[in-house]
């Protein structure tokens, strides 16, 4: 086993996968706590489908994938937030509308150009080989931005997550922070989706938050636990994927499912012991 691990890290693509993967998992876990608690979980799923459409168009146009996908998905994120806060269209319907439309556009574009081949498969379910040097650099920058947001504006993020009306009433610029969170989520999703897959990337946003909420009882501990769980699950998942040659995205999700079950059991045992 140690030999296998040594060998794993001797491949540059594996080192890149671990680096980008851990940083993306860290960012999506932090952002995910706020999104899940504010009932925005589905935004992650919607954005990944938009990302799929954008990547397909970028490939067809021979453009750099990130240069096309990042702005498009940021735009979609800001738009989805706006729709959520206006009452005319119901948010869940809007997300379903946008995500299926983007998926359809993506599939059409791919079938007209390269045909339905391994590219589509890779977009949908991810590929461990997909990470480039550029992805590494962007993910480091992204992680710095997200960490800075959570260190310096932690109290404000808590306030708008717990009670946005009260936060606004006491002068917190909720729109600004919501937009920041949406933009960072968009970048995180675009970066992570080529490795995790468009269909699976939203799990990185939702699982760690839900898992840590089974056990943790303060906002601070939920945030810290989510970050740790996310990175640990990603590392285990990618290792499993390498050793047993399973798809990377699915392996990471399976590890996250295991963690959720484990934490649920711990939470249930604790609940029984304290008598409620």
């Amino acid at each position: 086993m140690p030999d296998t691990l040594m060998e794993m890290f001797s491949y540059p693509f594996m080192v890149r996968a671990f680096t980008v993967g851990s940083l993306v998992a860290l960012c999506s876990a932090l952002l995910g706590v706020s999104l899940v608690l504010k009932r925005y979980s589905m935004i992650g799923d919607g954005l990944s489908h938009v990302g799929f459409g954008a990547l397909a168009i970028a490939a067809a146009a021979n453009a750099a994938p990130l240069a096309v996908a990042v702005p498009v998905v940021i735009l979609a994120a800001v738009l989805l937030l706006r729709i959520r806060s206006s009452s005319r269209i119901k948010g869940d319907a809007a997300i379903a509308l946008i995500s299926t439309s983007s998926l359809a556009v993506g599939v059409m574009v791919i079938s007209m150009t390269t045909g339905m081949n391994t590219d589509v498969y890779n977009y949908m379910f991810g590929s461990i080989l997909a990470m480039s040097e550029e992805d590494v650099r962007i993910s480091v920058a992204l992680a710095i931005a997200v960490l800075a947001l959570f260190v310096f504006f932690y109290q404000k993020i808590f306030a708008i997550t717990f009670d946005e009306t009260f936060a606004r009433a006491t002068g917190v610029r909720a729109d600004l922070y919501n937009t920041l969170i949406a933009v960072l989520t968009a970048v995180t999703i675009v970066l992570g989706m080529r490795m995790m897959g468009a269909l699976l990337i939203s799990s990185l946003i939702i699982f760690p938050a839900l898992t840590s909420m089974r056990v943790c009882r303060t906002f601070r501990s939920v945030i810290i636990n989510s970050a740790v769980i996310a990175v640990v699950c990603l590392v285990i998942g990618i290792t499993v994927s390498y050793v047993w040659a399973t798809p990377a995205g699915a392996s990471v999700v399976m590890t996250n499912i295991a963690a959720l079950i484990l934490y649920s059991l711990i939470g249930a045992l604790r609940g029984r012991r304290s008598g409620n």
Binding site: L37, K38, R39, V151, F152, F153, Y154, Q155, K156, F158, A159, T161, F162, D163, T165, F166, A167, R168, A169, T170, G171, V172, M213, C216, R217, T218, F219, R220, S221, V222, N276
Partner: protein, 236 residues
């Protein structure tokens, strides 16, 4: 000088006016109850007092050292909060955000202020408890402590006893009375519970699109509007 003065205020949604030509003021130490039926514009008025909704006409003037973001607001509880993982002290101290500007961390003074408010409301021993595990009455006390952290002079309570049982409701009113009398903090309460409102409040604003009545609660009891709304057989 009044803490808040509303001059000819009209508020509406997309051209439809909900509150029309409203005039009233809140003096330091007042206990004002805003009563009225559902859809009479109470919540809209609350939003405008908090500057979450702009007025169509007229103006709301803040005075006597009260800044617009220094109202101690106790909102109605939301769905999000029912399973929110946060400790009582995390919730209470978030009321101090408005006094900190861009500084990222709470100071010892912020922590002390939060502890004082928790002592004042008898919830200090709950400070490490999880908010979602508290009873309805305890949650209201926690949110009230947060509101007190945010203000020096004015509490704004939006139907604070909704869903509380009669005993807890009575305790909560008692608490508000004490805060109002002993700390001299003005109270504005939106309420359905008209009998208790008249009992405790110094002033009543009866809203029905416009102000059907604004004055002291004694005057309200004698007024035609008040007698009709209060009901009973003593208005012969």
């Amino acid at each position: 000088m009044a803490l808040i003065k509303c001059e000819n205020v009209s508020i509406g949604y997309e051209g439809q006016t909900v509150v029309r030509d409203l005039n009233f003021e809140i003096q330091p130490g007042d206990y004002l109850c805003i009563v009225g039926e559902n859809g009479s514009g109470k919540s809209t008025l609350v939003k405008s007092l908090l500057s979450l909704k702009s007025v169509e006409k007229g103006k709301i003037v803040f005075g006597d050292g009260l800044k617009q973001n220094e109202i101690g607001y106790l909102p109605q509880q939301t769905d999000v909060q029912k399973d929110f993982p946060a400790s009582v002290s995390e919730v209470v101290i978030s009321g101090r955000l408005n006094s900190r500007g861009l500084k990222p961390f709470y100071t010892a003074a912020d922590k002390k202020a939060a502890e004082e408010k928790m002592d004042m409301l008898g919830i200090r021993d709950l400070s490490r408890q999880c908010f979602r595990e508290l009873s309805g009455g305890q949650r209201q006390r926690v949110l009230l402590a947060r509101a007190l952290c945010a203000t020096k002079s004015l509490l704004l309570l939006d139907e604070p006893v909704t869903g509380l049982d009669p005993i807890v409701t009575a305790e909560f009113y008692q608490l508000i009375r004490e805060i109002n009398r002993e700390s001299g903090i003005a109270v504005v309460m939106v309420s359905h519970d008209i009998e208790s409102a008249v009992e405790d409040a110094t002033h009543i604003l009866h809203l029905q699109e416009t102000a059907l009545f604004f004055g002291t609660s004694d005057e309200y009891r004698k007024s035609r509007v008040g007698r009709n709304f209060l009901g009973g057989g003593d208005n012969a």
